[in-house]
């Protein structure tokens, strides 16, 4: 699926370029009685420039060559043959090709510069987003501790405890964020080392739930794994991160009284694991984009997060040769579906 998509993306500019040459030729047919053929060449040059700016050098050069051929075949007498009556046209062809190549090089360079600039802009945006995310918990820690340092005598025990708890919770959040950023960086660099070993899903979930102990105390988490569910070859620690993120989201975006369901099903060649909440759901148009890094659904109520969790989940699941998708439930809430091939 992904592959055919990228191939189509690559072929598409070339097809359009051929179309452009075709249009210019039709136009040339229309005006060839009124205009000198050497003037009609200018229209082809326009096609080359368009191709170069939109799709880069490759399609532009193809356009140049096709233009010369079409021009010769249809618009230079004798018509409908590649031979030419007037040898002067040979110079026109050569000049056109040279100009075509130069123009396409220049135009595609401009295009690359534009892309580069967009990339830099994106990187700056990422950096400022990251530093903002890092500074937020850090300032809570520094803030709480500085209050304690400055006026220790004037604080009652309850306030002091509250400040300390804030500092502790926020430093924990900071630690998790740094871990996420590290995973993200490793993933981007292709350095994510997945160490697959047979493990029990029940055990992976058990450890994950233990990590989330405080957050799930008041929640009803229902686990449905068949007795004969097979052991899966996967990276225990990374799969914990996946379930941690999915459960953390489910807890964050659903009311306390609603249950969260984890359901596993085994097929002949794969397993399917669902994490289902009855929370606020995800706008239909965002169901795919939530897996992009730093993407966050815009919501009126501010729920803190960095937009890293799900993209890390996706990276981990894909490194296992599997897939992760999200869909909204018929009544309410969201279900995340993971499939992992067996062996």
């Amino acid at each position: 699926m992904q592959k055919t998509k990228t191939i189509r993306k690559k072929i598409y500019p070339y097809l359009i370029s051929i179309g452009l040459v075709f249009i210019m030729t039709l136009f040339g047919e229309f005006v060839k009685r009124k205009l000198e053929p050497t003037n009609i060449v200018m229209f082809y040059l326009l096609a080359v420039v368009i191709a170069a700016i939109r799709w880069g050098q490759g399609p532009a050069i193809v356009t140049s060559i096709l233009s010369v051929l079409a021009f010769d075949f249809f618009l230079v007498p004798p018509y409908l043959t590649l031979s030419v009556a007037d040898l002067e046209y040979i110079f026109t062809f050569i000049a056109f090709l040279i100009v075509g190549v130069i123009v396409s090089t220049l135009a595609s360079k401009t295009r690359e510069q534009v892309i580069q600039r967009q990339k830099e802009k994106l990187q700056t945006a990422l950096l400022s987003s990251i530093s903002h995310d890092l500074r937020t918990p850090l300032s809570s820690v520094t803030g709480s501790l500085s209050v304690l340092l400055d006026n220790d005598a004037g604080l009652d025990d309850a306030t002091r405890k509250e400040l300390l708890e804030t500092a502790f919770a926020e430093s924990d959040r900071l630690n998790r964020l740094v871990g996420n950023l590290l995973d993200m960086t490793r993933m981007e660099a292709g350095a994510l080392q997945i160490n697959r070993k047979a493990c029990e899903l029940r055990d992976v979930l058990g450890v994950t739930l233990e990590q989330l102990k405080e957050k799930i105390e008041a929640r009803n988490i229902r686990i449905d794994i068949p007795k004969d569910f097979p052991e899966i070859s996967m990276d225990f620690l990374f799969m914990m991160k996946v379930f941690f993120n999915l459960l953390d989201n489910a807890l964050k975006y659903s009311p306390v009284h609603t249950p969260i369901d984890i359901k596993a099903t085994a097929f002949k060649d794969k397993v399917r694991i669902e994490v289902k909440d009855q929370g606020i759901g995800i706008p239909q148009g965002d169901l795919k984009r939530i897996f992009e890094k730093f993407y966050r659904v815009e919501r009126p109520q501010k729920i803190s997060g960095t937009g890293l969790g799900l993209s890390i989940c996706k990276g981990i699941i894909e490194a296992h040769g599997g897939q992760i998708t999200a869909e909204n439930n018929l009544n309410r809430g969201t279900t995340f579906i993971i499939t992992i091939p067996l062996a």
């Binding site: 430093s171 630690n175 160490n195 070993k197 047979a198 493990c199 029990e200 029940r202 055990d203 979930l205 058990g206 450890v207 739930l209 233990e210 686990i223 794994i225 052991e231 225990f236 620690l237 914990m240």
Partner: protein, 233 residues
């Protein structure tokens, strides 16, 4: 209590901030704390200061903590707890295999560290084989080979009993797959199928002693490393 007050802990970390908060926390719990910032100093003090336990960072400036562990193990069985930012299972397993008693990843809470410290120190007490050991709602009567869960007798297979006994005898301390397989089956973990056997046995054991086997609170999995029996409930 009087014994605890005399316990001597050697803290080895090149970060002064870490050493000072460990010193503050350990001292307030009655431990006598010594510090080293380098491996060389640590090796020297591990003899001269007569510590009862060592808390050791892996990333030391002059020598890796792993080497320090091996060096100390050549001549002493003193409990060693590793403190490190390295969180890969591989790093933990190699430190434990080199002879460390437990492993904590930075950042850590001092409460967790104190619990681990108590667990490894317990190992030093003379173990009385003629007794009934208790952890939470589980009790194991070693002379009579009897296990009770909430005062009701639990029907364990001999292998399940051996694993539970091993875990309870080192309650609070991590046991690697290798250690358990060696003790219980006398087999090496590289042997095909033995890890599967261990996982199945643990899963069955959990079914018999855990209040909710889907969320174990007694036999905890240490991902990629082994198991630990939670000693403090």
């Amino acid at each position: 209590m009087t014994e605890k007050q005399s316990l001597r802990i050697l803290v080895v970390d090149d970060e002064k901030a870490i050493r000072s908060f460990l010193k503050a926390s350990l001292s307030s719990h009655g431990y006598n704390v010594f510090e080293s910032a380098t491996a060389e100093e640590a090796l020297e003090k591990s003899v001269s200061a007569h510590p009862d336990a060592i808390i050791l960072d892996l990333g030391l400036p002059d020598m890796d903590g792993l080497e320090v562990t091996k060096e100390i193990r050549k001549r002493s069985k003193i409990p060693i707890i590793i403190l490190s930012v390295r969180e890969e299972a591989m790093d933990k397993v190699s430190a434990l295999d080199a002879g460390a008693d437990d492993y904590l990843t930075k950042p850590f809470s001092t409460r967790e560290l104190l619990a681990r410290l108590r667990a490894v120190m317990r190992r030093l007490l003379p173990s009385n084989k003629e007794e009934v050991l208790r952890v939470g709602r589980i009790s194991i009567d070693i002379p009579n080979h009897q296990v009770k869960v909430s005062e009701k007798e639990a029907d364990l297979t001999p292998t399940e009993y051996d694993i539970l006994k091993l875990l309870i005898l080192s309650a609070g301390k991590v046991l690697t797959h290798r250690q358990i397989l060696q003790e219980v089956w006398n087999k090496n973990e590289d042997l095909e199928g033995v890890l599967h056997l261990l996982r199945v046995t643990i899963s069955n054991l959990r079914g018999k002693i855990e209040p909710n086997p889907d969320r174990p609170t007694y036999i905890l999995t240490e991902p990629g490393i082994g198991y630990r029996l939670r000693s403090e409930h």
